[in-house]
């Protein structure tokens, strides 16, 4: 069976009037297996959307090849587009239509039934807003409707371009559950995001993108393991005397800051056991390395979403 997506050496350069050449996509290659949840993570302007648009078949690359489900997305093919669902960054709706009319129109375009349209509306939790005009839906509801429209054709492969951008935390988490469910049905999902947490929580594998290039691809856990960074353990100061702190030699570095003691250790289990036996767990926090640290390591730059 072909991979869901195979991309080799994509390049796209824009020639701005004043800004000169911008290499939006600069030699991008990756492969997504069927059934995978694949994330493209990077700050705004990293080239995620342009990459996605080329893969979807909206833009032609200057060079490089794309295979979607074994076929080329260019030129337009009714057969291939019927197997792929997309949610674009802007919610693209027919003006003045209700949520139901909207999704039924998309259902007709994909040759799907009205029942399927109603089912999708229900899946994204919009059944009771079916009669509301699209422009009156909240941002989160619009994103969900847009995802429902992406799913109505029963796609094997789903592209989601920053679906949670500009949503409040609760709406974002609801959408995460929905995205997990879509993937659990066996659909391949490709997600772009600039939220570390989102990529960490949802994706099987993540491509970290910056300045038009993919810097590294790995699973979130694999990235963190590969970083081999110490765990930071913090407790409130005043629970341990200085000598005892020194005795906890399992920690590599110990610093005191703002009435707290911060240990950095590669053996957090031993340190935490010791702290627990001392009864010095007040104000405890444990922070392992996350994708933010990975981003810093991979790109050499501080994360700025």
């Amino acid at each position: 069976m072909d991979a869901a997506i195979e991309v080799a050496d994509l390049r796209k350069t824009y020639r701005g009037r004043r800004s000169g050449e911008i290499r939006a996509v600069d030699g991008v290659s990756f492969r997504v297996e069927r059934g995978e949840f694949f994330g493209i993570l990077g700050p705004n302007g990293a080239g995620k959307t342009t990459t996605l648009e080329i893969v979807e078949g909206l833009r032609k690359p200057d060079s490089g090849t794309v295979r979607l489900l074994g076929e080329s997305p260019w030129p337009h093919s009714a057969e291939l587009t019927g197997r792929v669902g997309v949610q674009l960054q802007a919610s693209a709706f027919f003006e003045f239509l209700t949520a139901r009319e909207q999704i039924e129109t998309f259902a007709e375009l994909y040759g799907a039934s009205k029942a399927r349209a109603a089912e999708m509306l229900d899946l994204v939790g919009l059944a009771e807003h079916a009669g509301v005009r699209c422009e009156k839906l909240s941002g989160g509801q619009q994103q969900r409707l847009s995802i429902a429209c992406a799913l109505v054709g029963d796609p094997e492969l789903v592209f989601l371009d920053e679906p949670t951008a500009a949503l409040d935390p609760q709406a974002r988490r609801n959408l995460w559950d929905l995205m997990r469910a879509i993937n659990a049905e066996g659909r391949t999902v490709v997600l772009t995001t600039h939220y570390m947490e989102e990529a960490e929580s949802l994706c099987d594998r993540v491509a970290i993108m910056d300045a038009g290039k993919i810097k590294a691809v790995d699973s979130p856990a694999g990235f963190v393991r590969g970083l081999d960074a110490p765990t930071r353990v913090t407790v409130a100061a005043g629970q341990l005397d200085a000598e005892r702190v020194r005795e906890l030699a399992v920690a590599e570095t110990v610093t005191e800051q703002d009435a707290a003691i911060v240990f950095e250790t590669r053996d957090p289990r031993k340190l935490l056991t010791a702290l627990a036996s001392d009864g010095a767990l007040e104000g405890l926090s444990v922070r392992t390395a996350n994708l933010e640290d990975v981003f810093l390591h991979v790109t050499g730059r501080e994360w700025r979403a």
């Binding site: 337009h76 009714a78 019927g82 197997r83 997309v86 027919f94 003045f96 040759g111 029963d154």
Partner: protein, 365 residues
């Protein structure tokens, strides 16, 4: 659930149904957009009411004449032609003329009748002056006939052209209809393109099994349907409410309007390609449609316009649509007489469509 279970074979039937569902979705959206309905249906009707009353009042009603002092010549006047008001002196009469309270002032000193047509309303002023001159001529004829009985005098009878009165509505209706078709085509297309730039609907639809050409076809179809609806409503209101007499060839207005709409849509696409925002698109559309309307002869006869306006008018597609509609709908000429106009409109539509196709930046959509 198994993937692909709900998928059906994609056939020509699916393509046709995609076209129909797009027409349905876009048409529904159009009907719910109150501003669109206002601009395409109500605005032309409002214009008709307005222009018909402005032009209608000046030619049909009696001229308002100010008699300064004794004006014996007015004694022989037909009461339907003049409404006479007596004023004591000329200054007062001229002041009233400036205010637009009368169409002309007249005084008489012995054998000389002095006529002062209105400076503010030249049309009604010259009509009043013409009627007063005719009145003087009539009186002269009577005097001469009495002095030399048996001598033959010439008598002029005024017959209206085309066998009867061409009321203003006959002249105005085709022009206003042409203008209505022009603004809904230009504004509609330009606004749609700018909307697509903003909401990326076209981009989303490119990623469905329906092709872009199906979608554009549906969009154009909706605009054509709107134009036909607009024409039918407009001509019905003009005929029933304003006494427009429709010729037997009036049905030919439909293909004319369809062709005109294609030309105006093409203009709108060019504008939509340039403009980045809705106000920008509306402004540019005005910039194009206003001059196009003014030089087209839609609102007043081209013969009354200066030569350079008449020269420019050959470039305005509205001129040809207006002329063709007038010939067919009002004068009842068969469609074969408007072939030149049809040819121009078709050529115009084709050229502008080609230009818009070549210059359009599809990446922006």
């Amino acid at each position: 659930m198994t993937l692909g279970a709900v998928r059906e074979p994609r056939t020509r039937q699916v393509r046709t149904s995609a076209y129909l569902s797009l027409v349905k979705a876009l048409g529904r959206g159009w009907l719910r957009d109150r501003s669109q309905v206002f601009f395409t249906i109500l605005l032309p009707l409002l214009f008709m009411v307005l222009l018909a009353s402005v032009f209608g009042s000046s030619s049909d009603s009696a001229s308002r004449v100010l008699a300064v002092g004794e004006v014996p010549v007015l004694d022989g006047a037909d009461s339907g032609d003049f409404t006479v008001t007596e004023v004591s002196d000329l200054d007062e009469a001229l002041a009233m003329l400036r205010e637009g309270d009368a169409d002309a002032a007249v005084s008489q000193e012995g054998g000389t009748v002095l006529i002062y047509p209105s400076p503010t309303s030249s049309t009604s002023g010259s009509i009043a002056a013409g009627r007063l001159s005719a009145l003087v001529d009539d009186v002269n004829v009577e005097v001469l006939s009495a002095a030399a009985p048996g001598e033959e005098v010439l008598a002029a009878e005024v017959e209206e052209a085309d066998g009867g009165a061409v009321r203003p509505i006959q002249y105005l209706a085709p022009g206003i209809l042409a203008w209505g078709i022009a603004i809904s085509g230009v504004f509609g297309a330009a606004g749609t393109i700018v909307d697509w730039k903003r909401d990326k609907l076209l981009r989303r639809l490119r990623l469905t099994p329906a092709s872009v050409s199906t979608f554009l076809g549906a969009k154009v179809s909706v605009n054509l349907l709107v134009a036909v609806g607009q024409t039918v409503v407009f001509l019905a209101v003009a005929a029933l409410g304003f006494g427009l007499e429709l010729s037997a060839w009036s049905w030919f207005a439909v293909p004319l309007v369809l062709l005109g709409t294609l030309a105006f849509l093409a203009i709108g696409v060019v504008i939509g390609g340039i403009a980045q925002t809705s106000p920008g698109a509306a402004g540019l559309s005005n910039l194009v449609t206003m001059p196009m309307a003014f030089v087209s002869g839609a609102f007043w006869p081209l013969a009354l316009s200066p030569a350079w306006v008449q020269a420019i008018s050959y470039l305005s597609p509205m001129r040809y649509l207006n002329e063709a509609l007038q010939s067919v709908v009002v004068y009842g000429e068969p469609p074969s007489t408007v072939l030149p106009q049809i040819g121009f409109l078709a050529a115009f539509a084709a050229i502008v469509a080609l230009v818009s196709w070549k210059t359009f930046k599809f990446d922006e959509l």
